[in-house]
Symmetry: C3
């Protein structure tokens, strides 16, 4: 009964992460695209829940008859709803299990949303997001959490540094690459900063994501076991705190100024980093994982933005992709029971799959429906032309 | 012990809905009335808690001696506080019961707040809200949840599609009608859109309301029973998700543009719709209830705004009133154990009562104290003239 | 198992208070210093968690060998991590205990942050905040909660009206006094209102703080005991509601206008006031405590701002310092088992210690590194010059 309650509370904590993703993405992008960003994120939670009920959950958890690679499932509770309701899976119900996993599922598409912001064609993105969350995510998830071949080979990913975050991050990489940078990002060999429009919304986003992460990681214990959940809470907290610290000092040292966006993103880097091993590493290992996550954030962002010249308005590829891989490998380093090599193989397979799936599907959409808005629309902003009104239509300043 | 904890956690989830109502209403109204909106909502939670302690709780739950129609109660725990503290009502305490219900109580007045925004006289609204939440709500609530005549006749309303939402929605209808539209709403036979001032605040509002709704519906199980609470969580989630979907597609089809406000309100419509039967309908029925709620939202808003010419800045009458009735009737349709007719009678009685009470009381206040601010105040905004400062006094734009 | 879960959920409720503090402080200060405020608050949660793990927790809870006055502890779980993990302290784990207390610890520094906003030198504040949260707070906390001399003499402070709030408030007083007022605050004998820049952010802050306070007070029961936690929830709610009411009416009467900031702060005043005795006073005593807290808020703010001429942009000294002392003394008044005199002595010792520590340490930093930004920086704002960009770089108004 306590276990079930904790899974449900965790589900609603993961739910509120979607508000965190929304305000973070809105805060880091330009005002003229605010409604578009909010619209995408509202759609994703809806599509995520519905597709996961229709196909995702039973694809990701196919049961004993699973061939360990691919098995597309049907709707939840299709055969016998009353049985599902009373059936106790572990110490929580079938429906609790479904909802907790469904809230996770939508996260993958949300990560992509940030990377393609301000230039993606809305209908094409909605289509892609639905396929990613409804099909690709549960297929890859089944390999580990559904008892598939990655699970068989001893790969470990507690709450999804790979299954959720690297998956989302590398899907984002493929999409941002296919889409190309925003119009004003790279001009005459210069890299321009296209500033977002509200740092308080960034703060709200980061704090709500961190808040929800206690359900993301804490609920992944799949019970309310005091020792396990409290360890997970502490490793999660300390890794986030250390991610802030290292991101803050490195950016301060490199840019001579204490940068808020990098510092705040340091918390998210630390959270992604600890997600794979929050239950199996010591609290001091969690600190090291967080510190390195913060460092990777700074250098990873430079790699993506300056060397690869891929435009990622919110830094999603670095935070979720790079730190997701790091967190997965770190389990091999800091937990004696897991192998660095296996971890590396597992995270690579998931990342390559997410990247390839996105390249093919988003590429196919590019060829057919198109994925990019036209230049005039991009310049004037999506809100007014695509949605019909602006995000702050009545906002006036006193002066 | 788990039951009690869940009731308390549900109480605090319902509490945070008041922040959701505040930011939603603020986001959808004009900047010049922001402080006024925030002020009303801060007052309501205060007045709601205090009046519910003084009179509301014991009016709504009169106990065995109830005559099934009307019985005004006294303050909580008046006779013997220590007894109340240790007395276990069901599997949770008297105080847990009180607080959970008290958080519900304030909701009725909050719904009205949105419909009368931007033109209501502050002191008159505070008086009316206090009477609505302290008197009318517990009297009507007692008919169902206090074991009164609606309960006796087999009327079913799990978490309040009627008792809370239709009640609030039809009180809002009476008040908005008495008050008349905002000055610039209907001019020369034209219907003007008076745009709100912040879509991110709308997003924060909708997500927080949805978040809190898990306590609103989940806590209404009145225990942490795993099967019941997890079913409620899933029906609630899917109805909200389907409300988004249908509201999105219909408004997109009708207006040729994907409308964010309608889409986001679709979630709330779905949530109101599922509230009456979240524990007794199947998950697929929940999807249908949500889909129809989203449809009703679009057509209901047109009915209120364009045909009845009632000005409701936040769409509260449609979301809470119309979808509240729909959700109550839907229990009769989708649950074999309940009758459509009984449901229709019950929701009509509650809605008519809320409408009539508001008409009489708000009408009496209109005759005596007045309910509407003068035209100059309305044009210049309530914040500066009524409260003494603006909501963004130091806000400057970079350009 | 339920107890442990409740402590962990309480920890995450206290965590989200840091978002509340952030948005409240941001909303009440000027736009040009927004990033600086957000930066300080992001640092504090990081430094608070890390220093509490390294030294704070074992300083505050030294165990049986404590000399009752001073005993500096080492890092948590240093000797034998696996033992700590499985060791059940009361009915929750060592790590749950640590995290709940760690979330409290950062609060002290956050309170100071508000009082020194808009003129403090960033690096000096970060240094001071680290020393305050890592050293001074656990030393003083040990006197009561670690079983030290204040505990021995029968001093009672349930959840920290003194240990957390008066501590933070009087540290804030010393710092604000050393720092001096903002440049434009007192000019030619006139007291100027330096308006903040966003009232919706103030509302978000107050509601989130109240929300988190259910964990702050409710978790301080240190178990999920139904009778105790539900009483604490109700006293906490009613005191906040009554704080709103009295602050609202008094400011309305005095200024002839209903003031939103004072009304909203009334909730916080009531919450600070009830914190010391939430578990030992009756619900009607809680109402009185809240009413008086709201009154003290209005007069206390005038005392600080107009008579002492200390500039406190967010009113932290009054809300946390003055109402913290009041709440502590109120335990002696409203609970027969506690003495007013003992309560007064205890809260005085803690307040004087916080004030003196801050005076000495912040004074020493003033002499060496400096604590105040230069006048040009203050005039132009910290964001652009110190952090490199503004908080709303892309914000434009429609007109």
């Amino acid at each position: 009964m306590v276990d079930n309650l904790w899974i449900l509370i965790s589900a609603l904590l993961v739910f509120i992460m979607h508000l965190g993703f929304s305000t973070l993405e809105v805060g880091l992008t330009r005002q003229k695209n605010t409604i578009n960003v909010l619209f995408k994120n509202m759609f994703i939670i809806s599509a995520g829940l519905i597709t996961y009920a229709l196909i995702g959950f039973n694809t990701m958890y196919p049961g004993d008859s699973f061939n360990n690679i691919l098995s597309i499932g049907g709707p939840i509770g299709f055969v016998d709803a009353s049985k599902n309701l009373t059936h106790a899976y572990a110490d929580y119900t079938y429906y609790s299990d479904f909802l907790f996993q469904a809230m996770f599922a939508a996260t993958g598409a949300t990560i992509v949303s940030g990377a393609v912001a301000e230039r993606v064609k809305l209908s094409s993105f909605l289509l892609f997001a639905t396929l990613l969350v409804g099909l690709a995510y549960p297929i890859a998830g089944a390999w580990k959490w559904g008892g598939g071949f990655l699970d068989d080979m001893g790969f470990y990913d507690f709450a999804g540094s790979s299954v959720v975050h690297a998956f989302g991050g590398f899907a984002a990489l493929a999409c941002a690459w296919l889409l190309g940078p925003r119009a004003d990002k790279y001009t005459n060999g210069k890299i321009n900063t296209l500033s977002g429009h509200s740092m308080p919304l960034v703060a709200i986003g980061v704090f709500l994501l961190w808040f929800g992460w206690y359900g993301f990681n804490g609920g992944s214990v799949l019970s309310a076991d005091p020792a396990a959940v409290s360890l997970v809470f502490v490793t999660t907290s300390l890794s986030a705190a250390c991610g802030i610290l290292s991101a803050m000092f490195i950016s301060w040292f490199m840019n001579k100024k204490p940068d808020y966006i990098i510092t705040a993103n340091g918390a998210l880097a630390g959270l992604v980093g600890i997600t794979a091993g929050a239950d199996v590493v010591s609290i001091w290992a969690a600190c090291v994982i967080g510190l390195i996550s913060g460092i990777l954030l700074v250098f990873g962002s430079n790699l993506i933005e300056r060397i690869l010249k891929i435009d990622d308005p919110v830094g999603a590829i670095t935070v979720h992709g790079i730190c997701g891989i790091w967190g997965t490998v770190a389990v091999g380093i800091f937990s004696a029971e897991h192998s660095v090599l296996t971890q590396l193989i597992g995270t690579t397979i998931i990342s390559v799959f997410a990247f390839t799936f996105s390249l093919l599907v988003f590429g196919a959409i590019k060829k057919t429906l198109g994925i990019r808005i036209n230049g005039k629309l991009e310049q004037q902003g999506l809100d007014l032309l695509e949605h019909g009104y602006e995000a702050y239509p009545d906002f006036k300043t006193s002066s």
